[in-house]
Protein backbone atom coordinates (compact mmCIF):
# COMPACT_ATOMS: atom_id res chain seq x y z
CA UNK A 1 0.00 0.00 0.00
CA UNK A 2 2.70 2.50 1.03
CA UNK A 3 4.74 1.64 -2.03
CA UNK A 4 1.68 2.00 -4.20
CA UNK A 5 0.97 5.43 -2.73
CA UNK A 6 4.55 6.61 -3.21
CA UNK A 7 4.55 5.37 -6.79
CA UNK A 8 1.23 7.08 -7.50
CA UNK A 9 2.31 10.42 -6.02
CA UNK A 10 5.76 10.37 -7.60
CA UNK A 11 4.47 9.65 -11.08
CA UNK A 12 1.79 12.29 -10.58
CA UNK A 13 4.42 14.84 -9.50
CA UNK A 14 6.81 13.89 -12.28
CA UNK A 15 4.22 14.15 -15.02
CA UNK A 16 2.47 17.28 -13.87
CA UNK A 17 5.72 19.25 -14.42
CA UNK A 18 5.25 21.21 -11.19
CA UNK A 19 8.93 20.51 -10.47
CA UNK A 20 10.08 22.52 -13.47
CA UNK A 21 9.75 26.07 -12.00
CA UNK A 22 11.59 25.26 -8.74
CA UNK A 23 14.30 23.42 -10.68
CA UNK A 24 14.71 26.46 -12.96
CA UNK A 25 14.92 28.74 -9.94
CA UNK A 26 17.60 26.51 -8.43
CA UNK A 27 19.65 26.50 -11.63
CA UNK A 28 19.37 30.27 -11.98
CA UNK A 29 20.32 31.00 -8.36
CA UNK A 30 23.23 28.54 -8.37
CA UNK A 31 24.64 30.13 -11.53
CA UNK A 32 24.06 33.62 -10.14
CA UNK A 33 25.93 32.58 -6.98
CA UNK A 34 29.03 31.74 -9.00
CA UNK A 35 29.72 35.48 -9.34
CA UNK A 36 30.75 35.89 -5.72
CA UNK A 37 31.02 32.39 -4.26
CA UNK A 38 33.81 30.28 -5.71
CA UNK A 39 35.19 28.46 -2.74
CA UNK A 40 33.73 25.36 -1.08
CA UNK A 41 32.50 27.11 2.06
CA UNK A 42 30.59 30.03 0.63
CA UNK A 43 29.46 28.08 -2.46
CA UNK A 44 27.87 25.30 -0.40
CA UNK A 45 26.47 27.83 2.08
CA UNK A 46 24.82 29.69 -0.79
CA UNK A 47 23.45 26.41 -2.17
CA UNK A 48 21.98 25.53 1.25
CA UNK A 49 20.27 28.91 1.49
CA UNK A 50 18.89 28.72 -2.05
CA UNK A 51 17.45 25.27 -1.40
CA UNK A 52 15.04 26.64 1.22
CA UNK A 53 12.63 28.42 -1.17
CA UNK A 54 13.32 25.89 -3.94
CA UNK A 55 12.36 22.84 -1.83
CA UNK A 56 9.43 24.71 -0.35
CA UNK A 57 8.12 25.45 -3.81
CA UNK A 58 8.72 21.89 -4.96
CA UNK A 59 6.81 20.42 -2.00
CA UNK A 60 3.87 22.73 -2.56
CA UNK A 61 3.86 21.79 -6.24
CA UNK A 62 3.83 18.07 -5.43
CA UNK A 63 1.05 18.40 -2.86
CA UNK A 64 -1.15 20.54 -5.09
CA UNK A 65 -0.60 18.43 -8.23
CA UNK A 66 -3.55 16.25 -7.26
CA UNK A 67 -7.09 17.55 -7.90
CA UNK A 68 -9.40 17.34 -4.88
CA UNK A 69 -11.70 14.68 -6.35
CA UNK A 70 -8.75 12.44 -7.21
CA UNK A 71 -7.35 12.97 -3.71
CA UNK A 72 -10.70 11.95 -2.21
CA UNK A 73 -10.72 8.72 -4.21
CA UNK A 74 -7.21 7.89 -3.00
CA UNK A 75 -8.08 8.87 0.58
CA UNK A 76 -10.97 6.38 0.62
CA UNK A 77 -8.81 3.54 -0.68
CA UNK A 78 -5.58 4.16 1.21
CA UNK A 79 -6.50 6.42 4.13
CA UNK A 80 -6.54 10.21 4.02
CA UNK A 81 -3.57 10.76 6.32
CA UNK A 82 -1.43 8.09 4.69
CA UNK A 83 -2.15 9.70 1.32
CA UNK A 84 -1.14 13.17 2.50
CA UNK A 85 1.99 11.79 4.17
CA UNK A 86 2.93 10.05 0.94
CA UNK A 87 2.66 13.27 -1.08
CA UNK A 88 4.92 15.02 1.44
CA UNK A 89 7.40 12.15 1.33
CA UNK A 90 7.59 12.50 -2.43
CA UNK A 91 8.17 16.26 -2.00
CA UNK A 92 11.00 15.53 0.43
CA UNK A 93 12.49 12.93 -1.92
CA UNK A 94 12.47 15.44 -4.76
CA UNK A 95 14.08 18.03 -2.48
CA UNK A 96 16.84 15.62 -1.51
CA UNK A 97 17.45 14.96 -5.18
CA UNK A 98 17.71 18.69 -5.93
CA UNK A 99 19.98 19.09 -2.91
CA UNK A 100 22.27 16.33 -4.18
CA UNK A 101 22.42 17.89 -7.65
CA UNK A 102 23.08 21.36 -6.22
CA UNK A 103 25.80 20.14 -3.85
CA UNK A 104 27.47 18.09 -6.59
CA UNK A 105 27.49 21.15 -8.85
CA UNK A 106 29.02 23.38 -6.18
CA UNK A 107 31.68 20.85 -5.23
CA UNK A 108 32.61 20.30 -8.86
CA UNK A 109 32.73 24.02 -9.68
CA UNK A 110 34.43 25.39 -6.56
CA UNK A 111 37.98 25.42 -5.33
CA UNK A 112 39.52 25.00 -1.86
CA UNK A 113 39.84 28.20 0.17
CA UNK A 114 42.95 30.23 -0.48
CA UNK A 115 45.21 30.88 2.46
CA UNK A 116 45.34 28.91 5.70
CA UNK A 117 42.17 26.97 6.48
CA UNK A 118 40.74 23.88 8.05
CA UNK A 119 41.03 20.69 6.03
CA UNK A 120 39.14 20.83 2.73
CA UNK A 121 37.28 17.65 3.66
CA UNK A 122 35.95 19.26 6.84
CA UNK A 123 34.81 22.38 4.98
CA UNK A 124 32.97 20.29 2.36
CA UNK A 125 31.41 18.02 4.98
CA UNK A 126 30.21 21.09 6.82
CA UNK A 127 28.67 22.42 3.62
CA UNK A 128 26.94 19.14 2.82
CA UNK A 129 25.26 19.03 6.22
CA UNK A 130 24.15 22.64 5.68
CA UNK A 131 22.67 21.65 2.30
CA UNK A 132 20.72 18.88 4.02
CA UNK A 133 19.47 21.38 6.60
CA UNK A 134 18.32 23.67 3.77
CA UNK A 135 16.40 20.84 2.09
CA UNK A 136 14.67 19.72 5.30
CA UNK A 137 13.74 23.23 6.41
CA UNK A 138 12.54 24.24 2.94
CA UNK A 139 10.39 21.11 2.68
CA UNK A 140 8.94 21.95 6.10
CA UNK A 141 7.99 25.43 4.89
CA UNK A 142 6.39 23.97 1.76
CA UNK A 143 4.45 21.40 3.77
CA UNK A 144 2.57 24.03 5.80
CA UNK A 145 -1.11 23.49 5.04
CA UNK A 146 -2.16 26.81 3.56
CA UNK A 147 -5.17 27.01 1.30
CA UNK A 148 -5.09 28.97 -1.94
CA UNK A 149 -2.34 29.97 -4.29
CA UNK A 150 -1.78 33.56 -3.12
CA UNK A 151 -1.72 32.62 0.57
CA UNK A 152 0.60 29.75 -0.27
CA UNK A 153 3.11 31.96 -2.09
CA UNK A 154 3.00 34.49 0.74
CA UNK A 155 3.52 31.87 3.44
CA UNK A 156 6.33 30.26 1.55
CA UNK A 157 8.11 33.57 0.90
CA UNK A 158 7.74 34.73 4.49
CA UNK A 159 8.71 31.29 5.81
CA UNK A 160 11.83 31.10 3.63
CA UNK A 161 12.92 34.60 4.62
CA UNK A 162 12.40 33.88 8.29
CA UNK A 163 14.37 30.64 8.01
CA UNK A 164 17.24 32.42 6.30
CA UNK A 165 17.36 35.60 8.36
CA UNK A 166 16.25 34.71 11.90
CA UNK A 167 19.28 33.99 14.04
CA UNK A 168 17.46 31.14 15.85
CA UNK A 169 16.73 29.32 12.59
CA UNK A 170 18.70 26.13 11.91
CA UNK A 171 19.27 27.21 8.31
CA UNK A 172 20.72 30.52 9.40
CA UNK A 173 23.04 28.78 11.86
CA UNK A 174 24.15 26.12 9.38
CA UNK A 175 24.75 28.60 6.56
CA UNK A 176 26.65 30.96 8.84
CA UNK A 177 28.87 28.16 10.02
CA UNK A 178 29.49 27.01 6.45
CA UNK A 179 30.46 30.50 5.32
CA UNK A 180 32.94 30.84 8.15
CA UNK A 181 34.22 27.27 8.08
CA UNK A 182 36.73 28.07 5.39
CA UNK A 183 38.41 30.81 7.42
CA UNK A 184 41.52 29.99 9.33
CA UNK A 185 40.97 28.88 12.88
CA UNK A 186 37.23 28.23 12.34
CA UNK A 187 35.47 25.52 14.30
CA UNK A 188 35.39 22.30 12.34
CA UNK A 189 32.53 20.66 14.21
CA UNK A 190 29.67 19.85 11.85
CA UNK A 191 26.34 21.70 12.33
CA UNK A 192 24.63 18.67 13.90
CA UNK A 193 22.46 20.76 16.15
CA UNK A 194 21.07 22.66 13.16
CA UNK A 195 20.40 19.35 11.41
CA UNK A 196 18.55 18.02 14.43
CA UNK A 197 16.49 21.21 14.65
CA UNK A 198 15.64 21.01 10.96
CA UNK A 199 14.47 17.41 11.43
CA UNK A 200 12.26 18.45 14.33
CA UNK A 201 10.86 21.36 12.31
CA UNK A 202 10.04 19.13 9.35
CA UNK A 203 8.43 16.49 11.56
CA UNK A 204 6.26 19.10 13.25
CA UNK A 205 5.16 20.75 10.00
CA UNK A 206 4.50 17.41 8.29
CA UNK A 207 2.53 16.12 11.27
CA UNK A 208 0.36 19.24 11.17
CA UNK A 209 -0.04 19.03 7.39
CA UNK A 210 -1.08 15.38 7.46
CA UNK A 211 -3.85 16.20 9.94
CA UNK A 212 -5.33 19.12 8.04
CA UNK A 213 -7.96 18.29 5.44
CA UNK A 214 -7.47 20.22 2.27
CA UNK A 215 -10.87 19.59 0.76
Amino acid sequence: MTRGLLRYHSSLALRSHGWLPPLTLLAFLLLAGRVSAQQYGDALGWCAAVLVPVCGWLTRAVVSAEPDAAAAVVAAAAGARAARASALAVGLGGGLLLGAVGAAFEVAASSPPSGPHASTGAVVADGLVAVLVGVLAGTAAGALPVRGRAAGVLTLTAGSLALLVASVSPVNAAVRQTFTSQRSGASTSLPWLALLEACVLLTACAAAAVRVERY
Partner: protein, 273 residues
Protein backbone atom coordinates in the same frame (compact mmCIF):
# COMPACT_ATOMS: atom_id res chain seq x y z
CA UNK B 1 -19.60 -0.30 10.80
CA UNK B 2 -21.38 2.18 13.02
CA UNK B 3 -21.50 5.98 13.22
CA UNK B 4 -21.79 7.12 16.78
CA UNK B 5 -22.99 10.69 17.33
CA UNK B 6 -21.09 11.87 14.27
CA UNK B 7 -21.03 15.56 13.46
CA UNK B 8 -18.99 17.43 10.87
CA UNK B 9 -18.20 21.01 10.15
CA UNK B 10 -15.51 22.41 7.89
CA UNK B 11 -13.52 24.88 9.94
CA UNK B 12 -14.00 25.87 13.58
CA UNK B 13 -16.58 28.55 12.76
CA UNK B 14 -18.33 26.78 9.92
CA UNK B 15 -21.92 25.55 10.16
CA UNK B 16 -22.58 21.95 11.13
CA UNK B 17 -23.04 20.12 7.84
CA UNK B 18 -23.74 16.76 9.48
CA UNK B 19 -25.00 16.49 13.04
CA UNK B 20 -25.59 13.77 15.60
CA UNK B 21 -25.73 10.95 13.10
CA UNK B 22 -25.99 7.46 14.57
CA UNK B 23 -26.47 4.84 11.87
CA UNK B 24 -25.23 1.37 11.12
CA UNK B 25 -23.88 0.11 7.83
CA UNK B 26 -24.03 -3.69 7.92
CA UNK B 27 -22.35 -6.11 5.55
CA UNK B 28 -24.32 -7.22 2.53
CA UNK B 29 -26.74 -4.31 2.76
CA UNK B 30 -27.59 -1.78 0.09
CA UNK B 31 -28.32 1.66 1.54
CA UNK B 32 -29.94 4.48 -0.36
CA UNK B 33 -29.43 7.98 1.03
CA UNK B 34 -31.80 10.66 -0.18
CA UNK B 35 -32.20 14.33 0.57
CA UNK B 36 -32.21 17.71 -1.11
CA UNK B 37 -29.30 19.84 -2.18
CA UNK B 38 -27.26 21.00 0.79
CA UNK B 39 -28.85 18.42 3.09
CA UNK B 40 -25.41 17.13 4.00
CA UNK B 41 -25.65 13.81 2.21
CA UNK B 42 -22.43 14.28 0.23
CA UNK B 43 -20.52 15.05 3.42
CA UNK B 44 -22.14 12.05 5.07
CA UNK B 45 -20.88 9.85 2.23
CA UNK B 46 -17.39 11.34 2.56
CA UNK B 47 -17.39 10.54 6.25
CA UNK B 48 -18.41 6.95 5.50
CA UNK B 49 -15.73 6.60 2.85
CA UNK B 50 -13.04 7.87 5.22
CA UNK B 51 -12.28 10.85 2.99
CA UNK B 52 -12.98 13.23 5.83
CA UNK B 53 -12.98 12.74 9.60
CA UNK B 54 -15.82 13.49 11.97
CA UNK B 55 -15.47 16.71 13.95
CA UNK B 56 -17.53 15.10 16.69
CA UNK B 57 -18.43 11.53 17.53
CA UNK B 58 -16.71 8.52 16.10
CA UNK B 59 -16.88 5.77 13.54
CA UNK B 60 -16.72 2.32 15.12
CA UNK B 61 -15.62 -0.86 13.35
CA UNK B 62 -14.99 0.92 10.06
CA UNK B 63 -14.33 -1.19 6.99
CA UNK B 64 -10.70 -1.51 5.96
CA UNK B 65 -11.26 -1.84 2.22
CA UNK B 66 -13.21 1.15 1.01
CA UNK B 67 -13.92 2.65 -2.37
CA UNK B 68 -15.53 5.96 -3.21
CA UNK B 69 -16.86 7.57 -6.35
CA UNK B 70 -17.15 11.35 -5.92
CA UNK B 71 -19.91 13.47 -7.37
CA UNK B 72 -17.64 15.10 -9.90
CA UNK B 73 -14.45 13.46 -10.97
CA UNK B 74 -12.64 16.28 -12.74
CA UNK B 75 -9.78 14.37 -14.22
CA UNK B 76 -7.02 16.96 -14.33
CA UNK B 77 -4.61 14.08 -14.02
CA UNK B 78 -1.58 13.52 -16.22
CA UNK B 79 -2.46 9.87 -16.91
CA UNK B 80 -4.35 7.87 -19.47
CA UNK B 81 -7.36 5.93 -18.19
CA UNK B 82 -5.41 2.69 -18.22
CA UNK B 83 -2.37 4.17 -16.47
CA UNK B 84 -4.56 5.71 -13.80
CA UNK B 85 -6.37 2.46 -13.02
CA UNK B 86 -3.12 0.51 -12.96
CA UNK B 87 -1.70 2.94 -10.43
CA UNK B 88 -4.79 2.80 -8.26
CA UNK B 89 -4.95 -0.99 -8.17
CA UNK B 90 -2.26 -1.32 -5.49
CA UNK B 91 -4.10 1.25 -3.35
CA UNK B 92 -7.13 -1.05 -3.47
CA UNK B 93 -4.99 -3.93 -2.28
CA UNK B 94 -4.20 -5.52 -5.66
CA UNK B 95 -0.80 -6.80 -6.68
CA UNK B 96 0.83 -5.06 -9.63
CA UNK B 97 0.05 -7.81 -12.17
CA UNK B 98 -3.52 -8.15 -10.90
CA UNK B 99 -3.93 -4.36 -11.25
CA UNK B 100 -3.04 -4.57 -14.92
CA UNK B 101 -5.50 -7.31 -15.78
CA UNK B 102 -8.27 -5.95 -13.55
CA UNK B 103 -7.93 -2.47 -15.09
CA UNK B 104 -8.26 -3.88 -18.61
CA UNK B 105 -11.21 -6.03 -17.56
CA UNK B 106 -13.12 -3.07 -16.07
CA UNK B 107 -12.38 -0.75 -18.99
CA UNK B 108 -13.79 -3.43 -21.26
CA UNK B 109 -16.80 -3.99 -19.04
CA UNK B 110 -17.74 -0.29 -18.98
CA UNK B 111 -17.18 0.13 -22.70
CA UNK B 112 -14.15 2.38 -22.18
CA UNK B 113 -11.50 0.15 -23.78
CA UNK B 114 -11.60 2.24 -26.98
CA UNK B 115 -10.16 5.32 -25.30
CA UNK B 116 -8.21 3.63 -22.53
CA UNK B 117 -4.94 5.01 -23.85
CA UNK B 118 -6.04 8.60 -24.27
CA UNK B 119 -5.06 11.15 -21.62
CA UNK B 120 -7.82 11.61 -19.04
CA UNK B 121 -7.94 15.35 -19.59
CA UNK B 122 -8.94 14.78 -23.20
CA UNK B 123 -11.89 12.57 -22.30
CA UNK B 124 -15.50 13.66 -22.07
CA UNK B 125 -17.18 13.98 -18.68
CA UNK B 126 -19.05 10.73 -19.14
CA UNK B 127 -15.92 8.85 -20.14
CA UNK B 128 -14.07 10.20 -17.10
CA UNK B 129 -16.95 9.09 -14.92
CA UNK B 130 -16.51 5.56 -16.23
CA UNK B 131 -12.91 5.67 -15.06
CA UNK B 132 -13.99 6.98 -11.65
CA UNK B 133 -16.47 4.13 -11.34
CA UNK B 134 -13.98 1.54 -12.57
CA UNK B 135 -11.38 2.53 -9.96
CA UNK B 136 -13.90 1.88 -7.19
CA UNK B 137 -14.42 -1.66 -8.43
CA UNK B 138 -10.73 -2.52 -8.84
CA UNK B 139 -10.38 -4.24 -5.50
CA UNK B 140 -13.24 -5.95 -3.84
CA UNK B 141 -14.27 -3.19 -1.45
CA UNK B 142 -16.09 -4.14 1.74
CA UNK B 143 -17.67 -0.71 1.61
CA UNK B 144 -18.57 0.99 -1.64
CA UNK B 145 -19.73 4.62 -1.48
CA UNK B 146 -21.31 6.11 -4.59
CA UNK B 147 -22.16 9.81 -4.77
CA UNK B 148 -24.23 10.29 -7.94
CA UNK B 149 -21.90 7.83 -9.65
CA UNK B 150 -24.39 7.15 -12.44
CA UNK B 151 -24.54 10.78 -13.58
CA UNK B 152 -22.99 11.20 -17.00
CA UNK B 153 -22.75 7.49 -17.77
CA UNK B 154 -24.34 6.13 -20.92
CA UNK B 155 -27.17 3.62 -20.60
CA UNK B 156 -25.05 0.51 -20.98
CA UNK B 157 -22.57 1.75 -18.38
CA UNK B 158 -25.40 2.62 -15.98
CA UNK B 159 -26.70 -0.93 -16.24
CA UNK B 160 -23.22 -2.33 -15.79
CA UNK B 161 -22.84 -0.26 -12.63
CA UNK B 162 -26.25 -1.43 -11.35
CA UNK B 163 -25.13 -5.02 -11.86
CA UNK B 164 -21.75 -4.37 -10.24
CA UNK B 165 -23.44 -2.85 -7.18
CA UNK B 166 -25.74 -5.85 -6.77
CA UNK B 167 -22.75 -8.15 -7.22
CA UNK B 168 -20.89 -6.40 -4.40
CA UNK B 169 -23.93 -6.65 -2.13
CA UNK B 170 -24.38 -10.33 -2.96
CA UNK B 171 -20.71 -10.75 -2.14
CA UNK B 172 -21.28 -9.38 1.35
CA UNK B 173 -20.16 -5.80 0.86
CA UNK B 174 -22.01 -2.77 2.16
CA UNK B 175 -22.97 -0.28 -0.54
CA UNK B 176 -24.21 3.24 0.21
CA UNK B 177 -25.41 5.37 -2.68
CA UNK B 178 -27.01 8.67 -3.57
CA UNK B 179 -28.71 9.20 -6.90
CA UNK B 180 -31.09 11.88 -8.18
CA UNK B 181 -33.08 9.26 -10.09
CA UNK B 182 -35.61 7.71 -7.69
CA UNK B 183 -35.87 4.67 -9.97
CA UNK B 184 -32.20 3.85 -9.45
CA UNK B 185 -32.02 0.32 -7.99
CA UNK B 186 -35.63 0.85 -6.92
CA UNK B 187 -36.92 -1.77 -4.54
CA UNK B 188 -33.46 -3.25 -4.06
CA UNK B 189 -32.15 -1.01 -1.30
CA UNK B 190 -32.84 -2.67 2.01
CA UNK B 191 -32.26 0.46 4.02
CA UNK B 192 -33.20 4.04 3.21
CA UNK B 193 -31.76 7.13 4.86
CA UNK B 194 -33.50 10.46 4.62
CA UNK B 195 -31.00 13.24 5.11
CA UNK B 196 -32.20 16.74 5.99
CA UNK B 197 -30.24 19.57 7.61
CA UNK B 198 -27.41 17.20 8.35
CA UNK B 199 -29.55 14.74 10.30
CA UNK B 200 -30.34 11.21 9.17
CA UNK B 201 -33.63 9.45 9.63
CA UNK B 202 -33.60 5.73 8.95
CA UNK B 203 -36.72 4.83 6.99
CA UNK B 204 -38.72 1.84 8.10
CA UNK B 205 -37.63 -1.24 6.16
CA UNK B 206 -40.14 -2.54 3.69
CA UNK B 207 -41.59 -5.46 5.64
CA UNK B 208 -43.76 -6.69 2.78
CA UNK B 209 -40.75 -8.12 1.01
CA UNK B 210 -39.89 -11.66 2.11
CA UNK B 211 -36.14 -11.86 2.69
CA UNK B 212 -35.38 -15.45 1.66
CA UNK B 213 -34.98 -16.42 -1.95
CA UNK B 214 -36.44 -19.84 -2.63
CA UNK B 215 -35.85 -20.26 -6.34
CA UNK B 216 -32.78 -19.46 -8.40
CA UNK B 217 -33.24 -18.54 -12.03
CA UNK B 218 -30.36 -17.92 -14.41
CA UNK B 219 -31.18 -15.72 -17.37
CA UNK B 220 -29.18 -14.60 -20.37
CA UNK B 221 -29.75 -11.54 -22.56
CA UNK B 222 -31.44 -9.15 -20.13
CA UNK B 223 -30.11 -6.25 -18.07
CA UNK B 224 -29.61 -6.90 -14.37
CA UNK B 225 -31.21 -3.58 -13.48
CA UNK B 226 -34.43 -4.43 -15.32
CA UNK B 227 -34.56 -7.88 -13.74
CA UNK B 228 -33.96 -6.35 -10.31
CA UNK B 229 -37.07 -4.24 -10.74
CA UNK B 230 -39.41 -7.22 -11.13
CA UNK B 231 -41.71 -7.94 -8.21
CA UNK B 232 -40.52 -10.90 -6.17
CA UNK B 233 -36.87 -10.69 -7.19
CA UNK B 234 -34.79 -10.61 -4.01
CA UNK B 235 -31.26 -11.00 -5.31
CA UNK B 236 -29.59 -10.13 -8.57
CA UNK B 237 -26.09 -11.27 -9.39
CA UNK B 238 -24.67 -10.32 -12.78
CA UNK B 239 -22.03 -12.78 -13.90
CA UNK B 240 -19.05 -12.32 -16.13
CA UNK B 241 -20.49 -14.27 -19.08
CA UNK B 242 -23.42 -11.86 -19.48
CA UNK B 243 -25.88 -14.02 -17.62
CA UNK B 244 -27.73 -12.91 -14.52
CA UNK B 245 -28.64 -15.09 -11.56
CA UNK B 246 -31.85 -14.17 -9.78
CA UNK B 247 -33.01 -15.17 -6.34
CA UNK B 248 -36.78 -15.19 -6.44
CA UNK B 249 -39.46 -15.60 -3.76
CA UNK B 250 -41.28 -18.93 -4.25
CA UNK B 251 -44.70 -17.40 -4.77
CA UNK B 252 -43.39 -15.01 -7.43
CA UNK B 253 -41.34 -17.41 -9.54
CA UNK B 254 -44.04 -18.05 -12.15
CA UNK B 255 -44.66 -14.33 -12.66
CA UNK B 256 -40.94 -13.62 -12.93
CA UNK B 257 -40.47 -16.38 -15.51
CA UNK B 258 -43.43 -15.14 -17.53
CA UNK B 259 -42.08 -11.59 -17.49
CA UNK B 260 -38.62 -12.77 -18.51
CA UNK B 261 -39.85 -14.99 -21.35
CA UNK B 262 -42.03 -12.22 -22.76
CA UNK B 263 -38.90 -10.14 -23.50
CA UNK B 264 -37.23 -10.56 -26.88
CA UNK B 265 -33.71 -11.96 -26.72
CA UNK B 266 -34.18 -13.43 -23.25
CA UNK B 267 -33.01 -16.95 -22.60
CA UNK B 268 -33.61 -18.86 -19.38
CA UNK B 269 -30.58 -21.05 -18.74
CA UNK B 270 -31.51 -22.67 -15.47
CA UNK B 271 -34.25 -22.82 -12.86
CA UNK B 272 -33.40 -24.35 -9.52
CA UNK B 273 -35.50 -24.74 -6.40
Amino acid sequence: MRLDGVGKRYGPRGPWVVREVGVEVARGVLVRASGGNGSGKSTLLRLLAGVTRPTRGRIVDGYARRAYVPERFAAELPFTAREYLRRLGPLHGLRADASVSRADELLERFGAAGYADQPLRELSKGSCQKVAVAQALLGEPELLVLDEAWTGLDRAARETLDAAVLERVADGAAVVFVDHDPARLAGLAEVGWSVAEGRVRVDEPDGSRPRRAAITITVHGLAASWLGGLTGVLEVVARGDGSVRLGVAAEASDDVLRAVLSRPGAHVQEVRA
